[in-house]
Symmetry: C2
Subunit: 81 residues, 2 copies
């Protein structure tokens, strides 16, 4: 069974999800500010999520994915998770 | 574009993810206590996540999915997300 491979690896996953959110946002050609507005998430918090600096919660991931017209599972898959 | 459909709906998603974690755990025939141990998550917190009473974070979802030998995107997909 694959076990937890350490905190650094896990935090790398946050960065990957942030990149996946950013890629989808750029695909839709909307600004980070607009995404924050659509998802009803504080703009600076949205920036930190995209940079992988915050441990995003499932509810925020749902809000972001709805604002990006995609499924949260798709955002994770795009991040290799 | 699909917009946020309200907080109740979103919280229902937490319950769906909890059920999806529980289903995978039962498939592997391990107790909730063992899952909490494998994922290094407090036992009572693990219970609340399974019951959809906590807004699980991405890092905890990663820890749980690794303990369950599956991908976090699979847990979300099984929850219809």
């Amino acid at each position: 069974m694959g076990r937890v491979s350490g905190q650094t690896d896990m935090e790398g996953s946050l960065a990957e999800v942030g990149l996946s959110i950013r890629a989808r946002r750029l695909q839709l050609d909307i600004s980070q500010e607009m995404l924050a507005h659509l998802a009803n998430i504080d703009r600076s918090h949205m920036g930190r999520i995209e940079r992988g600096e915050r441990n995003v919660t499932l509810l925020n991931l749902l809000k972001i994915s709805r604002a990006l017209s995609c499924r949260p599972s798709e955002l994770l898959q795009a991040a290799g998770l």
